[in-house]
């Protein structure tokens, strides 16, 4: 039914707008008084950090795009021109390049947070799956962005990764030609990658919006993994979590700044400061660090198609994770056996990262295969079986309960019950 919104804002201008388009009411509901579990730890900062990171990437990216030239004979020089001649161009580029690394650091912590506290379980399955879509779009965006400076690693990385699609039976070669827009990675490839690299972040904004919308339907999970039972269990998002997130943002910016201003090339391959040369293959083609675990999985299988399938499978298992984990208990705090395997998984992924950075020789091959095996064993066998066998620890009655000294007794009103004032 159409009709004007009954706005409660006192400011007449705000009220006038809000009556016709209740965005102020919406913001107040979703970010002002939004009931949020009171027991978050600092790992719950990372969603907000990822969102801020996305904004930073888009902001710097738009200005970089104003000064970048997507042409094979000019791209490398145009990036150097940004570094040397554009006012604060070096800042834009170093923030953008290191921002990609920061984005993955923050997102990977966010994902492992979800894994530890069972944030993917009912009713948050769709929320989790949208998150996996975000990861996929992020990876595609990062990959295409890395190609744009048109250095040696840009060119050869693009060649290796696009060639993966040639593993598809029958149509593989045609698919690769179609992706390239020619018969090798060349100007058409660079042009379309630039176009898509500009487009995908805005797709990301849309998917992130769905992610947040879904979150605000189910409500946040929390370190205890139990449902919110009463208003005593929650706090209004503002000022409690706006403040707590602000602390996290400051620390995050501190790390980010240390990287950008004092070690801007730490995560960058030296090879990529050499202009792309189709006639000279680098002695080692290594992807950016955030792709290394997947690269290791790809190389742990002696068959090309098998490796490609396994690599995509590593992300596909995350899609169905909510149904692989059969345990009804969310938080690892109350899962004495799973808790240990969580750490084994984390170590397996770190080992895969190390394996991906080294030539597949000697001990690295064995390590890579062991870690790959464990990765899939963890999701496909361990999680379904463990849920049935494990005896979880007794869950607390409510979020407020475990934090009350001595237990029992009536719940104090405290800040949780304090009504929030409107602006």
């Amino acid at each position: 039914m159409a009709g004007l919104h009954k706005s409660e804002f006192a400011n007449p201008v705000v009220n006038w707008i809000d009556t016709r388009l209740p965005i102020f009411t919406m913001m107040q509901k979703e970010y002002g008084v939004f009931p949020t579990p009171k027991n978050f730890n600092y790992f719950w900062n990372f969603g907000a950090l990822a969102m801020i990171n996305l904004v930073i990437m888009i902001a710097t990216g738009i200005f970089l795009a104003m000064n970048y030239t997507p042409h094979v004979s000019m791209a490398f020089d145009s990036v150097e021109r940004i570094m040397r001649d554009v006012n604060y161009g070096w800042l834009l580029r170093y923030v953008h390049a290191n921002g990609a690394s920061m984005f993955f650091i923050v997102t990977y912590i966010h994902i492992f947070r979800g894994l530890y506290y069972g944030s993917y379980k009912a009713p948050r399955e769709l929320l989790w799956m949208i998150g996996v879509v975000i990861l996929l779009v992020m990876m595609a965006t990062a990959f295409m962005g890395y190609v744009l400076p048109w250095g040696q690693m840009s060119y050869w990385g693009a060649t290796v990764i696009t060639n993966l699609f040639s593993a598809i039976p029958v149509v593989g070669e045609s698919v690769v030609t179609w992706l390239w827009g020619g018969f090798s990675v060349d100007n058409p490839t660079l042009n379309r990658f630039f176009s898509l690299h500009f487009l995908l972040p805005f797709v990301l904004v849309g998917v992130v919006f769905l992610h947040v919308a879904a979150l605000h339907i189910t409500g946040s999970n929390n370190p205890l993994g139990i449902d919110v039972k009463s208003p005593q269990d929650t706090l209004p998002f503002h000022p409690y979590y706006t403040m707590k997130d602000s602390v996290g943002i400051c620390v995050y910016l501190l790390v980010f700044a240390a990287l950008v201003f004092f070690a801007p090339n730490l995560f960058m391959a030296a090879e990529n400061y050499i202009p792309a040369n189709p006639l000279v293959t680098p002695s080692e083609i290594v992807p950016e660090w955030y792709f290394l675990p997947f690269y290791a999985i790809l190389r742990s299988v002696p068959s090309k198609l098998g490796g490609v399938l396994l690599m995509f499978g590593a992300i596909a298992v995350l899609f169905v994770l909510p149904w692989l984990d059969t345990s009804p208990v969310r938080s690892s705090k109350f899962r004495p056996i799973y808790r240990n395997f969580f750490w084994v998984l984390l170590i397996a992924v770190v080992v895969l990262g190390l394996v991906g950075a080294h030539r597949p020789e000697g001990v690295w091959v064995v390590l890579g295969r062991l870690a790959t095996f464990y990765y899939f064993f963890h999701f496909l066998i361990l999680l379904p079986v463990l849920g049935k066998l494990e005896r979880p620890l007794p869950l607390p009655e409510s979020i407020s309960r475990p934090v009350i000294a001595g237990g029992g007794g009536p719940l104090p009103g405290g800040a949780a019950a304090k009504p929030m004032e409107k602006i």
Partner: protein, 253 residues
């Protein structure tokens, strides 16, 4: 079960610590002390100016520096008049009014003159090898400034067991120990205006300082801004944390 976790963590840390040890054999370079090291490091102006002299006298005969402009020399402490005079000493290609190819003296706004017209000319003059552009060479090699220094000072007699390729030179810092570039720096090759003794090591150090500046002309401004920003963020983190504590003070959590 806690033991399992501790053990597995220890195993992972061990793997990370051991990783470089079992990694492929790589040439190691002695770590040099550079004026531009660390968060407060700056380019030693005198060294960079001596380095630009070495670059002009030696390197620029084969290597281009095409991303850099003559005006960039301001960043190592040269005055405008000096830069104009230096630039005027080089001829750069241009197109004359009648459309024919011509040359004119360079201006500070010109890129450094490239020694060869194109890649083919460069290769044919250098026994088939292409002298790389040096604009970002310090960033384009693993080991950075230390590696370039090691390479410039790494020439010597090839071990008798080693079979050298035609026209190749022995250099212990180069992959495979055989490099196309003949030894560029010899003691006393240039005469420094400031009286510094031009040993091979001194010249290598100076030219690497110059090339590090050319590769990172923004470095000093970057670090200055970084120090300010980090101090501000440390302060902000403290203030924000205090406010957060205050806001949360009445919450039982």
């Amino acid at each position: 079960m806690r033991i399992v976790r501790i053990l597995s963590l220890a195993a992972a840390l061990g793997a990370i610590a051991l990783a470089p040890a079992i990694a492929e054999e790589e040439i190691s370079y002695a770590k040099q002390k550079w004026s531009f090291d660390g968060p407060f490091g700056t380019f030693d102006r005198a060294a960079a100016q001596r380095g630009s002299q070495v670059f002009t006298a030696v390197c620029s005969n084969c290597h281009s520096l095409k991303q850099a402009y003559y005006r960039d020399l301001k960043g190592i402490g040269l005055e405008n008049e000096a830069i104009t005079a230096i630039a005027a000493g080089f001829n750069v290609p241009t197109v004359a009014d009648d459309g024919s190819n011509a040359e004119r003296p360079a201006r500070p706004s010109d890129h450094f003159r490239s020694p060869f017209a194109n890649e083919k000319a460069a290769r044919s003059a250098n026994g088939g090898a292409l002298p790389p552009d040096l604009s970002v060479i310090v960033k384009a090699r693993d080991g950075g400034a230390d590696y370039i220094y090691a390479l410039l000072t790494g020439y010597g007699e090839a071990p008798s067991s080693m079979k050298m390729g035609d026209g190749m030179n022995y250099n212990k810092a180069f992959t495979g120990s055989q490099i196309g570039m003949p030894r560029p720096l010899n003691d006393g090759q240039v005469e420094y205006a400031d009286g510094t003794k031009a040993t091979t090591e001194q010249m290598a150090k100076d030219v690497v300082t110059f090339l590090s500046y050319i590769a990172n002309p923004e470095m000093e401004a970057r670090k200055r801004l970084g120090v300010k920003l980090v101090l501000f963020l440390v302060l902000m983190t403290g203030v924000t944390y205090a406010v957060k504590r205050k806001v949360w003070a009445d919450v039982d959590h």
